[in-house]
Symmetry: C2
Subunit: 231 residues, 2 copies
DNA sequence: TATCGTTATGTGTTATAACACTTTACCGGC
DNA sequence: GCCGGTAAAGTGTTATAACACATAACGATA
């Protein structure tokens, strides 16, 4: 049966999944402000779907930790307190450090080249002050590495963590992206990767996380000191 | 206004939340076999609710990783392959090690006493061959420690990981519970806790995780060698 | 003018019905 | 007896309606 060489028909994703994806994009894109209430009907209306998929998508995002329940079961985009940032940073170091260490041992040359390319593209984007692009490239760089760990569960967990700080990264990026230190950390990671130095890569990634977290924290303290009390 | 001294009225949880909780209990209680298909209508019928809360609860469990999508968007309880067990074990060591280390520094004496009591209760339950009870006490012991980390996000993530192996732990517990080594690890953890030895506690917890994972792995290889290919 | 009860609107929750698709059961033809 | 197709049951998906509760707007009374 020659039919076997046909591609599988593409099956469009459910409305629920599409809504969830749109919401994720909006969250990391900085469309919502921290603390914003998100209502089912608003989501349903603005995306042109009924309540059912909108509600389900929101509840999935909540289960992932990207949204949180406020008073009376209303959903809101969780504000990032200093404490919470510190917690997430610790978890990120543990998880992304693990992923990086495994990845250094398992990544293939072709993948390493692609990761290095993403890094260079990010630097160029930063210099051109294309911050949206730089954020995208930064994501590619990091997750290109993490995917090398061949640990799908771990990668999903890391994605969930990034979602929680996404809105803020967007907010503070210019100042951070222009800093030399951030680029240095990436370069250091790229070198360790090329040398397949697992410990070195882990250290570089940990530095990068710590460094961006510190920037975010000072920014938080400056722009919204009330973040200390929230959440 | 003397009304102020009234207690807040208790507000029952939504059906969705109740269904989700029932499903979690069933999962760690070993009600489902790995690979079992779970249908929305079956859940709805057996719990006496309509499709809506049943479906939403299932989709939350899926988002948490406790259930997985199979072919044609059917949901199933995910089989535990050797690879997946190895991945989860690595993540658990990173996460629960972090929680333990933080907890050693932050736990109060009263909490430490309660944790030690849970441990002793677990040993007694094991000796009495009350394995259901022992599993419960083991959970109390571990999460009693983790709660001490004061890191709610981290704790939620760890709970998610336990959910994935829950069905299997129930399956293999007798052999593992009776082993002296497991108790030894707990004793070691309890001592480190009392001495507030963060590194020692982390090491003891890591040993405990590794030890139970090894048991689970040999059991998996023996009872279902096809687990290598699944999932 | 300030306060309190009332009404209207908004919002989450749940049940039900309708639809498309898949899987199973069944049955006639070869 | 086996194969192919058709009917039936099962299943996920989505929309809609009805309900309970919370919030906001409103207006009357003191």
């Amino acid at each position: 049966m020659a039919v076997h060489r046909l591609d599988l028909i593409e099956r469009s994703e459910t409305l629920t999944a599409q809504v969830a994806e749109k919401l994720r994009e909006a969250l990391i894109g900085g469309v919502f402000a921290p603390g914003d209430k998100i209502t089912i009907r608003a989501v349903a209306k603005s995306l042109g779907v009924s309540l059912t998929p909108a509600r389900e998508a929101l509840s999935i995002l909540a289960a992932e930790g990207a949204l949180e329940f406020g008073a009376n079961r209303t959903l809101m985009v969780p504000p990032l307190s200093i404490d919470r940032l510190a917690e997430i940073t610790r978890i990120r170091i543990a998880l992304e450090g693990l992923a990086a260490e495994r990845a250094a041992r398992l990544l293939e040359d072709r993948e390493i080249a692609r990761i290095a390319a993403a890094n260079e593209a990010m630097i160029r984007a930063t210099e051109a002050e294309d911050f949206k692009g730089a954020i995208l490239r930064n994501h590619e760089f990091h997750f290109g590495i993490y995917r090398g760990s061949r640990m799908p569960t771990l990668i999903k967990m890391i994605e969930g963590l990034w979602l929680r700080t996404g809105a803020y990264v967007n907010l503070i990026y210019p100042a951070f992206g222009l800093a030399r230190k951030g680029i240095e950390n990436h370069e250091r990671a790229a070198r360790a990767l090329k040398a397949r130095d697992a410990e070195g890569l882990r250290a570089a990634i940990e530095f990068d996380i710590r460094y961006s977290a510190e920037h975010l924290e000072t920014e938080l303290r400056a722009k919204q000191p009330e973040a200390l009390k929230l959440a």
